[in-house]
């Protein structure tokens, strides 16, 4: 440990760019990226579950608006959605005078709204697909037991749909992590923002961006392994017996 510490101090002292100061920027950036991605995923997930159920409704006035929402949010770039919400909030007449401005003047919240709406749209479609793929026999069995629709949803359809959706949702989480890099465009100091700052300060593109790429790579692998572990646990009953 001593040696490691000494080695680290040595490394930092022989380095013009990666001083404790700039590493602090990266650390703050990591915090911002993680909280932005984590919060938007959690809120998006909470929104997506009821939306996915409603998306499969037989009533057109419920089904079509949700389809429209997911179509628009999945069919346009996240950057446009971010700009619309960011500038849409900033340029509202008189918003600077209200108490809301204290929260909204920081780009974090508009970005959080944009990311949440975006991931909710993708997640809704993932869950909708998973719900639709429920084997008929399971539904018939639940009906034969006299379950109500709500009970059937809670005990039969949703648990198996969540499991089926797991691999696709893992991809969505990684996609969201990578998409969050554009938060730096609206002045947020996320990981990419920190890298751009360090680049601009030292004019060292390789150091600044390769370092941040390595951090993103680690985060991606962490998510990948987490989902692989979850799949192994939750999908154990689907594995072939000799597999």
């Amino acid at each position: 440990m001593e040696q490691l510490n000494a080695w680290f101090v040595e490394l930092l002292s022989n380095n013009d760019i990666f001083t404790a100061n700039t590493l602090g920027y990266y650390l703050d950036g990591l915090g911002n990226t993680v909280s932005l991605v984590f919060l938007s995923l959690i809120i998006g997930l909470l929104l997506a579950v009821p939306l996915a159920i409603a998306r499969g409704s037989r009533r057109k006035w419920i089904k079509w608006p949700i389809f429209f929402y997911t179509y628009v949010f999945r069919g346009t770039p996240l950057l446009i959605q971010l700009y619309m919400i960011y500038y849409g909030v900033v340029f509202i007449e008189g918003i600077q005078d209200t108490f809301l401005w204290a929260i909204l003047k920081e780009a974090f919240y508009p970005a959080l709204i944009a990311f949440t709406l975006n991931t909710a749209a993708y997640t809704t479609e993932i869950f909708h697909g998973a719900i639709k793929a429920t084997p008929r026999g399971e539904i018939e069995a639940a009906r034969a037991y006299g379950m109500s629709r709500a009970l059937m949803m809670r005990r039969i359809i949703m648990p198996s749909a969540f499991r089926r959706a797991l691999p696709a949702y893992g991809n969505e989480v990684i996609f969201m992590l990578h998409a969050s890099a554009i938060a730096s465009v609206v002045t947020i100091m996320d990981l990419t923002g920190a890298a751009r700052f360090v680049y601009a300060r030292f004019y060292a593109p390789f150091d600044a961006f390769l370092f941040v790429a390595a951090i993103y790579l680690c985060l991606t692998f962490a998510i990948l392994y987490l989902f692989r572990y979850l799949e192994k646990k939750l999908l154990a009953h689907l594995k072939p017996i000799n597999g």
């Binding site: 179509y71 628009v72 069919g75 346009t76 770039p77 996240l78 950057l79 446009i80 700009y83 619309m84 500038y87 849409g88 900033v90 340029f91 992590l177 990578h178 998409a179 969050s180 890099a181 554009i182 730096s184 465009v185 990419t192 890298a195 751009r196 680049y199 593109p205 390789f206 961006f209 390769l210 941040v212 790429a213 993103y216 790579l217 991606t220 692998f221």
Partner: protein
């Protein structure tokens, strides 16, 4: 009619830039994807590892970071190489990496990795008996590829390629960040100048949706063409 405050023609120019970037990077991605898939399917261990490294690294890093790296670092890197060439061999060349080149190369590079995975799966899905039959007819490897392997592979690859194209199209919006005047950048400039957040962003969003819808139709037509001879059974399965 909506008043675009004089930005209408510029938005259309921007839309053209978006389409150019998208199509050129698609071409690059298709070529890289085919190369990657062949490398991954080849028996050469080195090629296989190289392709795996490429797809893993590219898919683990955000597209914007790669684009910034190439845009800001690319010129320095290229200059180092051309300087070296000059001092070693007296070759005097100058290559400039502008926003357009950086954008197209990055997007092509990123989606080459995704296309590679799609093509690899599709090549593996072609029945090996078909290739053996080709060989039995005395076809050369090239002819087998052109007449048998490629058309059947495309049938399996098309849905994946279509999805990748849709994602690629949306990724082109990122070139606005490195300063290329695509429609997103022009809309953002117009928004800042006029303080009208929705007036320019909504038309741009609609153009994206329009391009996406047209391509969806195009992919469906291609799918029909490559599905010829496989009957209705497959359509039921899809």
């Amino acid at each position: 009619m909506i008043d675009l405050q004089g930005y209408g023609p510029r938005l259309l120019e921007g839309a053209l830039v978006t389409v150019e970037v998208a199509v050129l990077s698609l071409l690059l991605a298709l070529i890289l994807g085919l190369l990657t898939a062949s490398a991954k399917l080849s028996r050469n261990v080195l090629l296989h590892r190289l392709a795996t490294l490429y797809t893993t690294l590219i898919r683990g890093v955000p597209d914007l970071v790669l684009m910034l790296l190439l845009f800001f670092g690319g010129q320095i890197g290229v200059n180092m190489i051309t300087d070296w060439l000059y001092y070693q061999f007296g070759v005097d060349i100058f290559i400039s990496i502008n926003e357009f080149v950086a954008g197209v190369v990055t997007i092509g590079f990123i989606f080459g990795a995704y296309m590679g995975e799609t093509f690899r799966g599709a090549f593996m899905a072609v029945d090996s008996g078909q290739l053996e039959a080709g060989r039995a007819y005395g076809m050369s490897n090239r002819l087998i590829f052109r007449r048998i392997q490629f058309p059947q592979m495309m049938r399996h690859a098309l849905p994946g390629l279509g999805n990748n194209w849709m994602v690629l199209l949306k990724t082109t919006a990122l070139v606005s960040v490195i300063g290329l005047s695509d429609m997103v950048r022009i809309a953002a400039e117009a928004t800042k100048a006029t303080h009208e957040p929705f007036l320019f962003m909504i038309p741009v969003a609609l153009i994206y949706l329009l391009i996406a819808s047209v391509s969806e139709w195009g992919v469906a037509r291609l799918q029909k063409r490559y599905n010829v001879g496989f009957g209705e059974a497959d359509e039921w399965n899809n």
